[in-house]
């Protein structure tokens, strides 16, 4: 059984480490905040200007002045801080944020990512994604392994305009956990429950490296 979006978010949550500051992108990454392991403390940064982002507010506490980068109303946890956009990207560019999790349309075996533009269709813009992927030490891409047409999103080269080059370190999909190796290639780390190595092979168009050992199943 391949994972649903919640399953992907749960598996990504296992990558969080105690005392990390984490930036979560829009979509599947946002769900990660719901599954933080109990024994660790992390703080979420949203690039529009908050550290210490909390869950959605109760109706009576909804505040138009308090939103996340997805423009959703949120709450601020004790110890939270607000700041301007230049300060926010100083935190990101200056590598004070330990982990960025974001979605993608395509990832290449070299760690290139494309997620902001489909030529000929509506161009919405990159928002903070280019700054985030250019600077974070640790970038995890959360996405489905294939697109709606069933084509692989893990490619030799991205076909869409790039958001950043040589930056993605790990990809977590509905089928697998894969490390992007420094010299290129997707190294298979874990399989989704009841997903076979063959299924992953078929769904991966870029170079897939399968270590010569049993590939464990994800534990969710």
């Amino acid at each position: 059984m391949s994972l649903d979006k919640i399953g992907i978010a749960k598996r990504i949550a296992q990558e969080l480490k105690d005392r990390w500051y984490v930036n979560l992108g829009i979509g599947i990454p946002t769900l990660v905040a719901n599954y933080i392991p109990e024994n660790i403390n992390v703080e979420f940064q949203s690039e529009n200007g908050i550290l210490g982002m909390g869950p959605f507010p109760e109706e009576k506490n909804v505040d138009a002045d308090l939103i996340n980068a997805g423009k959703q109303t949120i709450s601020a946890l004790p110890g939270a801080v607000f700041f301007d956009s230049a300060m926010s990207f100083a935190m990101i560019r200056g590598q004070h944020v330990q982990l960025t999790v974001l979605g993608a349309m395509e990832v290449s075996e070299k760690g290139d990512i494309a997620n902001w533009k489909i030529p000929g269709k509506m161009v919405k813009g990159m928002g903070g994604a280019m700054d985030l992927v250019a600077s974070a030490d640790n970038i995890i891409v959360a996405m489905m392994h294939t697109n709606k047409k069933g084509e692989s999103k893990l490619l030799k080269e991205c076909s869409l305009p790039l958001t950043g080059v040589n930056c993605v370190k790990k990809v977590i999909t509905n089928l697998a956990v894969l490390d992007v190796l420094p010299d290129g290639g997707f190294q298979l780390v874990e399989r989704a429950p009841d997903v076979s190595v063959d299924q992953i092979k078929k769904a991966t168009s870029g170079k897939l490296i399968i270590p010569n050992r049993e590939i464990p199943e994800m534990k969710l």
Partner: protein
Amino acid sequence: MIDKQILNAEQACKDIKSGATIMLGGFGLCGIPENCIEALVKSKIDNLTCISNNAGVDNFGLGYLLKSKQIKKMISSYVGENDEFERQMLSGELIVDLIPQGSLAERCRAGGAGIPAFYTPAGYGTELGLGKEVREFNGKPHILETALVADFAIVKAWKGDKAGNLIYKATARNFNHPMAMAGKVTIAEVEELVEPGELDPNQIHTPGIFVQRIFQGTKYEKRIEQKTVKKIN
């Protein structure tokens, strides 16, 4: 104390001419200068270059100025959620310059801080880096981005005093602070305008030196783009 107070949005915007470059603070619809946008729509000036992280939504925020076709060019980082924007861009009526959000913020900050350009890794290796100077620092390639300044910067704060000192609320600070620094003339509209001395100098976010005009807005709708609430079982 240098008194920056003026009567209202109309007075604040009255010398903004067609063809001007204007920065407008806000992220999405959060922290946008609603009163000045309304005054600009009424003024009917056009051919504007607007620097703003987003372009509003249909029928709110900068969406008003787009609908009335007063904007010639937008410099933004994210412009979804706006059908009229899409129509004008695809038809070629509107010139759109998309730049990474962090680069946009820093270009404004740099413009206000007297730094003409800076190197950033954002956009290197992408189409945004094409034609830009590349230089390696600590083994990592960076591209040169230049500072932005504007004829007018229009920002919105929560509280301000007549000296132009500003305090923002929560995430409504966003681009308002760096843009306030980068206007040749900076106009601040605030929810509450007070006498000098009433704001604690320890708590001020934007020092009044960056602000030339300040007034208290008469109404704030503060529309929410995505209202999300906690589900209570």
